[in-house]
Symmetry: C2
DNA sequence: ATTGAAAGCTTTTTACT
DNA sequence: AGTAAAAAGCTTTCAAT
């Protein structure tokens, strides 16, 4: 992982649809060498995948909320229970009490309420504290 | 936005590097028609961009935390102040008091502390409450 | 809006440095 | 690791439906 790799990652986070020739020109390498470096970044798992980024509002997910979930039992192995709720975009085990922090996207606040109901139905969950987002300043890739 | 468009979005969120021929086969369309649909999804802004997804730990961002930021003044136009801190991956204005919720990725907890210091330095910020993530269950695309 | 095919690039491989 | 060039494959455009 040198400077060129880091530069390539930044460029590919901005636009993964550009050609290796263009990428190579930007970092001062031939298309072939650029291709080989990107291939290795994938192989080593630094690049996990290439994906399109979708506007949440355009697909009926205009409401964003973060929900703190409290539990009376150990939550370390209940990831699947959260994954089973499709409106949950992220779920993290957090420090403090037995707790999980989830990021939820729904079409309406009514649907958000329904997601909270389904979270409550998870075994051991003793409480939720939802925080609704009014405006997203930015969401951006993590730069190296 | 019909069912085929939604299917295409799901497939492209999983792997945007596949060919239009493969995509078309999956949804029962020719490569040309698939290309045209994807082009329109881009044009309409449903697809924002194509990007690689990078493993945060591999680029020295193994520590993840969510930080609630309280402020004594209106925060609606201080997005740039948060954007100026590169370790902040997301920043959202949240309901409740004058507050912002940010997602931070750093290499170490010492660096996290330094980010908190820089957040405190933002005009009007009166307090922060950091929650460190112990384990990420999942982070996934929003499905239509 | 979709098809099928042609033209023009890109990726991917290979031989060489 | 990098370069350069060839082969294979893909994107993009276009006439037709």
């Amino acid at each position: 992982m040198d400077d060129v790799d880091r530069q390539l990652l930044v460029l590919l986070q901005q636009d993964a649809a550009q050609s290796y020739a263009a990428l190579g020109q930007a970092v001062g390498l031939s298309a072939g060498a650029t291709h080989e470096r990107v291939r290795k970044l994938r192989e080593r798992g630094v690049i996990r995948r290439t994906a399109v980024e979708v506007d949440p509002a355009a697909i009926g997910r205009g409401v964003l909320a973060f929900v703190m979930v409290d539990s009376t039992k150990w939550v370390g192995d209940s990831g699947d229970r959260f994954a089973a709720i499709p409106e949950i975009q992220e779920a993290h085990v957090i420090a403090g009490s037995a707790a999980v922090l989830v990021k939820v996207r729904t079409a309406t606040t009514e649907q958000l309420q329904d997601v909270l109901r389904r979270i409550y139905a998870i075994d051991g969950v003793s409480g939720t504290q939802a925080t609704v987002v009014l405006e997203t300043f930015f969401e951006r890739p993590v730069t190296p």
